[in-house]
């Protein structure tokens, strides 16, 4: 195949992946919707036998579970197509496929979906599926609409093996941050509901999710996994590469500033979890603010602020 054909295949794949992801989101939304009348199932496991039979009687949980299963399958399918899109993009450009903002968006979502799909298997966290798929759909869709560039060579500053190390680190951390942010949102929702909803009104998908304490633990673990990787990508690999490319380790370039701010906010989150008065709600909000700074660094700094890291176009 010619470079142009690879490029076209990549574009078709990314479009298809976005469509499939949108469908996955619809399925995950249905998983929530179908569970409207369902009483908390998971929490009733410890309740003496007998009560379970009633809650499982209606058709809704089956439909909800089926929708969740479809969501998971569609997400897997979208991931496969997206990986094809990313790989063929690399073949079309004859280099690693993360040299500009469009490509970064594609590979970041591919990695985020991979992390999500694996974690669903490990920790059974498909309850964040709706949030992850809608986020991924929006990022992929807007990447194509607003920052698409045809495949081409790298600018000389990016032509380094640090491009692999630094960017993969940032993307992996970002993928985990996304899962952590989704879990933190649901933690806030669930913790609030646990406080305000009387026992007899606890129906719907929210009550099929794990307890807020379990969600909090998932969020913490994901963040605890991501934070060292972010430290490595932003504060070790980044400066070493910056020294080789620009002759200084740290120069307070806009992207560096925001990477540092993200790092500080996640550090604050980890500390908040061990500080009286900050545990729980405040810590979860900190994690979301931290993710906000991460997103701003990707979108805001690339498009509106500029600086040495501006490879958007």
């Amino acid at each position: 195949m010619t470079l142009e054909q690879w490029g076209n295949l990549s574009n078709y794949s990314v479009v298809s992946a976005t469509v499939v992801l949108a469908l996955a989101f619809v399925a995950y939304a249905a998983q929530w919707g179908f569970a409207r009348k369902v009483v908390a199932v998971r929490e009733q496991v410890s309740v003496p036998a007998g009560a379970d039979d009633q809650t499982l009687a209606g058709p809704e949980p089956d439909r909800s579970d089926a929708a969740g299963g479809i969501g998971y399958s569609l997400t897997t399918l979208a991931e496969v197509i997206l990986v094809v899109g990313v790989v063929t993009r690399g073949l079309a450009a004859e280099r690693v496929p993360w040299g500009n903002m469009y490509e970064f968006g594609c590979i970041a979502i591919a990695v985020a979906l991979a992390v999500y799909l694996v974690l669903v298997r490990v920790w059974d966290i498909d309850w964040i599926g709706a949030l992850v798929t809608i986020f991924a759909t929006v990022v992929l869709g807007s990447s194509m609409l607003f920052v698409y560039v045809p495949p081409g060579p790298l600018v000389p500053a990016l032509d380094s093996y640090w491009l692999v190390i630094h960017v993969i680190g940032a993307i992996t951390a970002g993928a985990a941050f996304l899962v952590g942010a989704a879990a933190s949102i649901l933690y806030l929702v669930k913790a609030r509901a646990e406080q305000r909803t009387p026992e007899d009104q606890r129906t719907g998908f929210l009550w099929r999710m794990p307890t807020s304490a379990s969600i909090d633990q998932v969020a913490y673990r994901v963040h605890a996994f991501a934070f060292p990787i972010w430290t490595f990508a932003a504060l070790i690999a980044g400066p070493i590469w910056a020294q080789a490319a620009w002759g200084r380790y740290w120069g307070w370039d806009a992207k560096e500033v925001w990477a540092f701010i993200t790092w500080v906010f996640y550090a604050a989150y980890l500390h908040a979890r061990a500080t009286a008065g900050w545990r729980g709600k405040a810590a979860a909000i900190l994690a979301l603010v931290a993710f906000g700074t991460f997103l701003f660094n990707y979108i805001g700094v690339n498009l509106f602020v500029g600086g040495l890291h501006s490879y958007a176009k």
């Binding site: 380094s160 307890t211 070790i236 002759g247």
Partner: protein, 522 residues
């Protein structure tokens, strides 16, 4: 003198109170958030340290807001008193946290696991089981089930008590991480004090010697002796740039390479070098980086008698990605009046419908030089340092167009072309050279923060992944059977503690014999 409380309210008490506040976790957390917030403006407003020119143009564009921001230190956020204040407070808070915790940890390292509390079953994660094995066997089984942990077994009037603690590495990692942050910050500061950084433009064919006068920009740390720049020199023979010639990314740079020879030391032998982006040249403890490039048209000026008064390449500084470049030519030897030129250089020009020329490609396919001319006094003799890229027009008069006195006299030259000026001088665009902009810097001791941050990362991973846990097992002989109480406690509360307890109990039970007569306790 009247109250017993008086000494506590004195300055010592105040100081102690302030110290405790500063080193508390809450304060540290607030300072951390404050640090993130005060770092923001530096990313939104141009900074003198990174882009002084952008600051100047910002001040011109915002005549009202600019000076206010300048007063607040917004153009040098990261060296401003308020930014430094926050991070110094954070440093003190950090050290105030590390020192006592290290002492506590050193004591804890030598300490034995805490004794088993009286009633183990009052713990949320606890379990009771009954076996016909002896208490000693229960202890052996518990040791086996615990694996690597610090374990004490005591016999209290026939009741065997086991206390175990594991996960000491968590706090070690935590302390290592925080200590290494201090090391990194000190290391970075020391490197900045001992190092230097400068930049110089070198045209093809020219030689750069590492002495202060050869630099266009130079900055060094307070502890660096400017007279002790390592002696080395290098000659730029050739600068090669390639650009994407077709497709949608036409004009995008593909590669830049500066080649030539360099000599290390006063009388070192010349050796060839190649400097590319991401591939600096290391000489004499310094590194030479390629940080920019552009064009230097060779310009020749001859007087009415045909004598050459100026003949050299003049670097024009690029302003955009197609290398629309601006520059200044100063002809000090011209008589009776000095000549000055200011204008632009375009590597590949096209003429638009409005008659204006613009650059469309970064490589020199159709170069053009456009200049305006001034005559008078360049102001070079006044002893004031002058930028070579700025024409001081205070004592100069512009040559105007003969047909339209409102318009400046225009010089437009392609390579090989020449033009006669109104005063009889001739200016010729002889040829084209390229220049490279090098940054030369040394950061001695940079290994220290590097090692520091790598150690910190390892500590961080340890502190986030190691789970400290205390386990107690009490076995009491009760007739022919043994009643066993188990409790597990985590310093950091975790949701999966019950599951872990269940697993531990299962492993504990494995080698034990089931109770002979009755079932396990509820």
């Amino acid at each position: 003198m009247s109250s017993d409380l008086a000494p506590e309210l004195g300055w010592r008490g105040m100081a102690r109170w302030a110290w405790r506040q500063l080193t508390s976790m809450r304060t540290a957390l607030s300072l951390l958030l404050l640090l993130a917030i005060v770092a923001v403006p530096g990313s939104l407003v141009p900074q003198r340290g990174t882009d002084a020119r952008a600051v100047e143009s910002y001040l011109i564009d915002h005549p009202k807001l600019g000076p206010v921001l300048d007063k607040l230190g917004m153009f040098s956020v990261y060296t401003s008193p308020w930014f430094s204040g926050v991070y110094l407070l954070l440093m003190i808070s950090l050290i105030g946290c590390i020192v006592p915790r290290s002492l506590v940890y050193l004591r804890a390292l030598r300490a034995r696991p805490p004794k088993a509390p009286k009633n183990l079953l009052r713990f949320p994660a606890s379990h009771e089981l009954v076996t016909s094995s002896s208490p000693d066997d229960v202890m052996t089984a518990a040791r086996g089930a615990l694996g690597r942990a610090r374990i004490d077994v005591v016999d209290r009037d026939g009741v065997q008590e086991l206390s175990a603690e594991k996960g000491y590495l968590r706090e070690a990692g935590n302390l290592l991480f925080h200590i290494s942050i201090v090391i990194v910050l000190i290391g970075v500061a020391a490197t900045a004090l001992l190092g230097y950084r400068g930049a110089a433009i070198v045209v093809e064919g020219d030689r750069f010697s590492n002495v202060l006068t050869q630099y266009d920009e130079f900055a060094s740390g307070a502890l660096f002796d400017r007279d002790k720049l390592p002696p080395f020199s290098f000659q730029l023979d050739d600068f090669a740039a390639t650009y994407q010639v077709d497709g949608p990314q036409r004009g995008a740079p593909l590669s830049f390479e500066a080649t030539g020879t360099y000599a290390d030391g006063v009388d070192g032998k010349d050796a060839p070098f190649s400097i590319r982006v991401n591939h600096p040249l290391k000489i004499g403890g310094a590194s030479v980086f390629l940080v920019g490039q552009g064009y230097a048209p060779v310009i020749k000026v001859t007087n009415r008698d045909g004598e050459v008064v100026f003949d050299e390449p003049v670097p024009f500084l690029p302003a955009d990605s197609t290398y629309t470049s601006n520059g200044v030519v100063k002809v000090a030897e011209a008589q009776p009046e000095q000549l000055g030129f200011q204008g632009f250089f375009l590597p590949t020009f096209v003429e638009g419908e409005d008659g204006a020329t613009r650059s469309v490609f970064p490589a020199p396919i159709a170069p053009i030089l456009g200049l305006f001319a001034w005559h008078g006094d360049l102001g070079l003799d006044e002893g004031r340092p002058q930028s070579v890229y700025v024409l001081d027009k205070t004592n100069m008069t512009q040559y105007m167009d003969a047909d339209d006195p409102e318009e400046g006299y225009e010089i437009s030259l392609q390579p090989g072309e020449s033009q006669k000026l109104p005063d009889g001088h001739t200016i010729e665009f002889v040829g084209l050279k390229q220049f490279a902009r090098f940054q030369i810097s040394a950061s001695p001791g940079i290994e220290i923060p590097l090692i520091g941050i790598v150690a910190g990362l390892l500590g961080l991973i340890g502190s986030l992944s190691v789970r400290p846990r205390r386990t107690w097992v009490r076995a009491r002989q009760d007739g022919s059977r043994t009643v066993v109480h188990v409790a597990v406690l985590d310093r950091v509360p975790r949701v999966d503690l019950p599951a872990d307890l269940e697993q531990f109990v299962r492993r504990l039970k494995e080698p034990l014999e089931p109770p002979s007569n009755e079932g396990e306790g509820a």
